[in-house]
Amino acid sequence: MFRLPADKLNEFFAAIASAQSLYIPVDGDDGRASYKKWTEGTALSKALNTVRSAKDFFFPQTTDICDFNMNGKNIEIIDNRTESEDFVIFGVRACDARSFTILDKVFLAEPIDTYYATRREHGTVITMACTEPEENCFCGVFGIDAAAPEGDAACWMTEDSLYIKANTEKGEKFIESIKSMLEECDSSAVDAQKAKTKEILEKLPFANVSTDYFRKNTLLDIFGSEHWKKLSESCLGCGTCTFVCPTCQCYDIKDYDTGHGIKRYRTWDSCMYSDFTRMAHGNSRNSQVERFRQRFMHKLVYFPDNNNGEFGCVGCGRCLSRCPISMNIIKVIKTFGEE
């Protein structure tokens, strides 16, 4: 474990940014945080988390896939990828760090999504332990420890120091590159902080929410449940939950006709939208009940069924904060659990 005096934080950022692009959570005019590229004078946000998740770095809302140029009967395919720059994301919370593991299972499984893989290779994830979790946090339900986050290297901020510890080889390399600024230390200060945070985590309102129902019941029983109708009744069918979610990974691929060629690109899609899964024959999900059910079945049943029981949710609480009508995965889990 290494230590940096807190008043050297700016120099620390400057040192990282001199070698590669550095992104940190920054407060906007309205006090809401988002990741911004660090430049001299950029201050680290004190907010618990960013409104948008950190998945944007590896799976952005839009990605150019390729261009097609038509020349008589020949079609030329142009790979227009530009991502070749190494970058560091600093201040990622434990929930978002785990979301990368979930996204990896989708995009790095065969056939590997090379757009995602390239970004993952170039990115170093430096996480930050939480000290003041909020009422909407429930990462613990999914076995995530907010006081000891994953990521390439983890940080803990105290009043006077920043502590950092590598979790991966990439993290070790990162620490090596800035080692001249750091001093080696023991973990007593970090252990004390962890113990304090743990006490708060245990008191969180959703600390004891149980996902057992989704393990004990069959896919078809859950799928056919009467609960979905009532739960989805007031869903507006907007895509807010899916777009702020760190693990939602569905996308749509489109061609744009430029008049002399085609630009193929992909964008995030949302299972909440009326034309999601619209195919040549029509749409397999024509009501909001079916779309709503799809989102939660995916996270709580289909994804774990295909990934050794790991749920497709990290408990970041963004959908709880942002749903216009306050319907969310906690209300879904509780409704089934109370059966």
Binding site: E132, E135, T267
Partner: protein
């Protein structure tokens, strides 16, 4: 208030006047209320609430609900009645299938506003109408309710209900102080470049989640042009700044003259974009060019933008003429 509301709902269910009730359902933390349909006294007792945390406008739900079998009961706050009226006027709600009970409102507490004051970990809130007591993971706080209101309530346009079958409590008055146009005036005073920068900064935050469109009581197209694969502009994401701007401008023009200024667009925006200011500018312009007009205030008045009178101003040259003389 809540007891009186539940009591009336039970009575109307019991005597068969209605077969269901559209209202607000309690959540986990007092502030996260969800619109819901209740069909029995037991359901009402278990979850129905009406208090200072019931911000969602229920009017849009009635488009679908009023097409189902049997009569329904809906509770409407003053600003919700304007949306309701407008939807009746546009033949979107089947009025005779709805029984409306008007409920008073003194402004709704907005949890994001409370959180913006640095209050973290909110596990509960209560309001006595004057002050809001907030219990958090990190202690208890109290603040005046006036400081907890969201955008839509800070500049409330009316405490008067414009449509109802019965009313609980006393009806209020239309607010005529014009305070809701102060921010619009500030934007008007900017230079075009400043104004452009202001809106680029705001609209660049848009993630195209469509929450504003889907919550909007004036956005009721059966299939939106942005969802239509044959339109050529069906989009999941704004791929450039032009699209970021145009989505909101097209949407706002489409509801111009029909927007009642209910403020739901801004309330639900996950990126905190003050979308209501776009339509509020149109409302201000309509007032200035055609005389005061409030969409949804009645069922008869023809909307200025849908009507032609010989004396109509020519807005494009109105400033050259020195105003609407």
């Amino acid at each position: 208030m809540q007891e009186a509301v539940i009591k009336r709902a039970k009575e109307l269910l019991a005597d068969g006047s209605v077969n269901r009730v559209v209202g607000w359902k309690a959540g986990e933390f007092a502030y996260d209320t969800t619109p819901a349909v209740f069909t029995s006294a037991e359901e009402l007792d278990a979850g129905f609430i009406y208090n200072d945390f019931c911000a969602p406008n229920l009017s849009k739900y009635i488009i679908k609900e009023s097409r189902k079998e049997g009569k329904l009961l809906v509770f409407l706050k003053p600003c919700d009645t304007y949306s309701f009226n407008q939807l009746v006027k546009e033949h979107r709600i089947i009025r005779e299938n709805v029984y409306i009970i008007a409920v008073p409102c003194t402004g709704k507490v907005d949890v994001d506003t409370v959180k913006s004051k640095g209050i973290k970990g909110i596990t509960g809130m209560t309001s006595d109408g004057e002050n809001v007591t907030i219990t958090t993971l990190y202690g208890e706080k109290t603040m005046p309710k006036s400081e907890t209101l969201g955008d839509k309530c800070r500049t409330c346009k009316s405490k008067k209900h414009v449509i109802f079958d019965e009313i609980i409590g006393d009806d209020g008055e239309v607010n005529t102080d014009g305070a809701r146009f102060e921010l619009v005036e500030k934007l008007e005073m900017m230079t075009p470049d400043e104004r452009y920068d202001f809106w680029r900064n705001e609209l660049s935050k848009c993630i195209r989640c469509n929450a504003c469109r889907n919550v909007c009581p004036a956005c009721t197209c059966e299939s939106c042009v942005f969802d239509n694969p044959n339109s050529g502009i069906q989009q999941r994401a704004a791929t450039d700044s032009f699209e970021e701007n145009m989505f909101h401008l097209i949407r706002s023009f489409h509801v111009a003259g029909r927007c009642t200024d209910c403020g739901e667009c801004t309330r639900v925006c996950p990126q905190n974009i003050p979308l209501h200011l776009i339509n509020r500018k149109y409302i201000k312009d309509i007032n200035e060019f055609y005389g005061d007009y409030q969409a949804g205030s009645d069922l008869e008045t023809r909307a200025p933008l849908n009507d032609y009178t010989f004396d109509d101003c020519e807005p494009s040259i109105v400033y050259k003429r020195g105003g609407n003389e």
